[in-house]
């Protein structure tokens, strides 16, 4: 059996669509996914001068909360994330590593001054979680714009892709040339 994936809800993040997210991530990755809150204090990762949270440091913390028996963890948060050189990131993972983190802040239509669209938000969240998990499986960005592994620097790019791995990426996953976790 494949090791499970823990979808860890960070801070006060408790969306009503949590179960749908869990189900769709499980379907797209073909893994068992468990969703539950993870009570870690986010304050140490906050950078006041940027009013954002440090994704890399947060990732390091998540590595300490891996599920037993070699599973993976994806932290999901409503807070905005950054890495030092970039203005923001939707999420971050270690290539071939067991931990990832995703922010839904910039996935909200409201963030761009548009009316609320929860359907779209859920779609985007599914894609970003699956995308970061893909990196965890060892996949790099894919030139196929409909593949979940295509890179997204704008939220519009996220909307263009599907939540599925393209045939090529899927075959890499099956062939196992995409790597298993290491820390």
């Amino acid at each position: 059996m494949k090791p499970e994936i823990l979808l860890a809800h960070l801070g006060s993040f408790r969306p009503t669509w949590s179960e749908e997210l869990r189900r769709r991530v499980a379907a797209a990755t073909d893994h068992f996914v468990r969703a539950e809150p993870l009570g870690i204090d986010l304050a140490p990762f906050y950078a006041p001068e940027r009013q954002q949270y440090h994704a890399t440091l947060l990732l390091a913390e998540l590595l300490r909360h891996l599920p037993a028996s070699g599973g993976r963890i994806v932290g999901i948060t409503a807070e905005d994330l950054f890495i030092p050189v970039l203005t923001f990131v939707f999420g971050q993972a270690q290539l071939g590593g067991p931990a990832a983190v995703v922010s839904v802040m910039r996935l909200h239509t409201e963030f761009y001054g548009l009316p609320t669209d929860e359907r779209l938000l859920v779609d985007r969240a599914v894609k970003e979680v699956v995308h970061e998990l893909g990196h965890g499986f060892g996949l790099v960005h894919c030139p196929d714009r409909s593949c979940v592994m295509s890179s997204s620097t704008y939220v519009e790019d996220v909307d263009l892709k599907s939540e599925r791995f393209c045939t090529e990426c899927s075959s890499l996953l099956v062939a196992g040339s995409a790597t298993t976790p290491h820390t």
């Binding site: 050189v85 290539l95 790099v140 704008y154």
Partner: protein, 448 residues
């Protein structure tokens, strides 16, 4: 870019910057090496080639500008992107003057960073390609000179010199194997366009359905199987020369399209809305009688006039037999060098044999014959038995006059002329490849 992963080096004294950029580029499919300052970078650059350097300006020991100064001498071809804090944009501009590709200010928008990196790699690829092409031109100029002192070849070389200076279209005519592509390259190599590419398309060798996208390129999704945007040969020849071999074979519809491009130098990729401009010089070649094709209505007259400003006719080898000794000497030298074998002399008998032969496959057939002699010959001279020629000896008639024997000989000869290329030979023989394979097997003909 090839399938090799692009290699990038990140030079920054801040560990968190190095690490997060490393992760970011790894996810984008790069091979990543990090260095903590200029000295460290120089050390790591010594051992491996890199496609791109991302360099922070402010570092201890050796900063970005000093590093760049050093690299300008040791690695002038390196593509560099500068990382800078907003406060030091002036220094970044100094870096640009030193040849950096671009700079980004920290923190950078992810989209801006990926865009800058993409542009940098594209430019690097272009520069590499130009360098490769320059090498290729030089290589062609030294490795494949046009050999011949006959009146016929002197005339050809005079014409090459004359037309090379102009930008007009040229049609090179000559039988198969006379070296039409060599002449096309000689024209390009002597023309003002020589530092741009010469792009060759064999119109007779590509199926009609593919020829269109080969020439015009296509957008992603233009047809089933078009997964990526692809530039066509017309576009790739921009600045240089487009060489269309076997121009007599292009289908009627393409003749119209080609004429339109030649008139406007503008076209669209298949499935593309955007008009593309390409400035190239056209050189065509054919072994067909174009005038006859025009008369038969199989080649458009307007296209004929458009491409046929100059015409260069390469004489067949049998009409310039005096060039044979020179050519043999040239091929022997070239082959002994590439095979690492000692050079050979032509025996007197062999020379007579070569002079008597008709050379239907022209210079290419001669080269193949010499190559074979170099491979199988066991002495330091080329003897008649080393040459694969079916010269009609003693009264001019082969002993076995059965139809099968003639067919077998004819197939073997055509295969030789076409350098063992079965598809090409089948076309010449007017039979399909399957049939040809069966006959090769039946008669036990060794191809190549």
């Amino acid at each position: 870019m090839s399938h090799r992963k692009p290699r990038i080096m990140i030079v920054d004294d801040e560990r968190s910057v190095r690490e997060s950029l490393r992760e970011w580029f790894l996810e984008d499919g790069f091979e990543v090496v990090t260095a903590e300052d200029g000295l460290d970078a120089l050390k790591k650059l010594d051992s491996d080639p890199f496609d791109l350097l991302v360099v922070d300006l402010k570092m201890p020991r050796m900063d970005g500008i000093s590093l760049q100064r050093r690299l300008r001498e040791t690695h002038p071809d390196l593509t560099i992107i500068i990382l800078t804090a907003f406060a030091s944009v002036e220094t970044a501009v100094e870096a640009l003057k030193l040849g950096a590709f671009d700079y980004v200010t920290k923190p950078v928008d992810p989209d801006e960073l990926s865009h800058t990196v993409r542009r940098a790699l594209e430019r690097k690829q272009l520069t590499d390609e130009n360098a490769r092409l320059r090498d290729k031109v030089t290589q062609l100029a030294t490795a494949a000179p046009i050999v011949g002192s006959s009146r016929g070849m002197e005339r050809v070389m005079e014409l090459v010199g004359t037309v090379a200076e102009t930008d007009a279209s040229v049609v090179i005519r000559g039988e198969s194997g006379t070296g039409k592509e060599l002449i096309a390259r000689a024209i390009h190599g002597a023309s003002p366009r020589r530092f741009f590419p010469i792009v060759a398309v064999n119109c007779g060798a590509i199926p009609e359905t593919l020829l269109e996208s080969e020439l015009f390129g296509h957008e992603k999704g233009a047809f089933t199987g078009a997964h990526y945007r692809r530039k066509g040969k017309l576009e790739l020849a921009n600045g240089g020369t487009l060489f269309l071999d076997e121009i007599g074979e292009i289908p009627a519809k393409m003749q119209v399209d080609l004429l339109r491009v030649l008139e406007s130098h503008r076209f669209n990729r298949l499935g593309g809305a955007q008009e593309i401009e390409s400035d190239f010089r056209l050189v065509c070649a054919t072994n067909r009688d174009l005038e006859a094709l025009v008369k038969e209505g199989r080649f458009r007259e307007d296209l004929y006039y458009r491409i046929h400003v100059f015409s260069i006719e390469i004489p067949p080898l049998r009409e310039r037999r005096e060039d044979i000794p020179l050519l043999v000497e040239h091929f022997v030298e070239k082959l002994s060098r590439s095979m690492g074998k000692p050079s050979k002399q032509l025996s007197e008998e062999s020379e007579e044999l070569l002079q008597a032969y008709d050379w239907p496959g022209n210079v290419r057939e001669l080269e193949n014959a010499i190559e074979r002699a170099m491979v199988i010959g066991t002495t330091d001279s080329i003897r008649p038995q080393d040459l694969p020629l079916q010269v009609e000896q003693e009264g001019g008639t082969p002993r076995d006059r059965s139809l099968e024997s003639l067919e077998s000989e004819h197939i073997a000869r055509v295969l030789r002329e076409e350098s063992g290329n079965v598809s090409q030979a089948a076309r010449v023989l007017g039979i399909d490849r399957g049939t040809l394979y069966n006959k090769i097997k039946k008669y036990g003909i060794r191809s190549g």
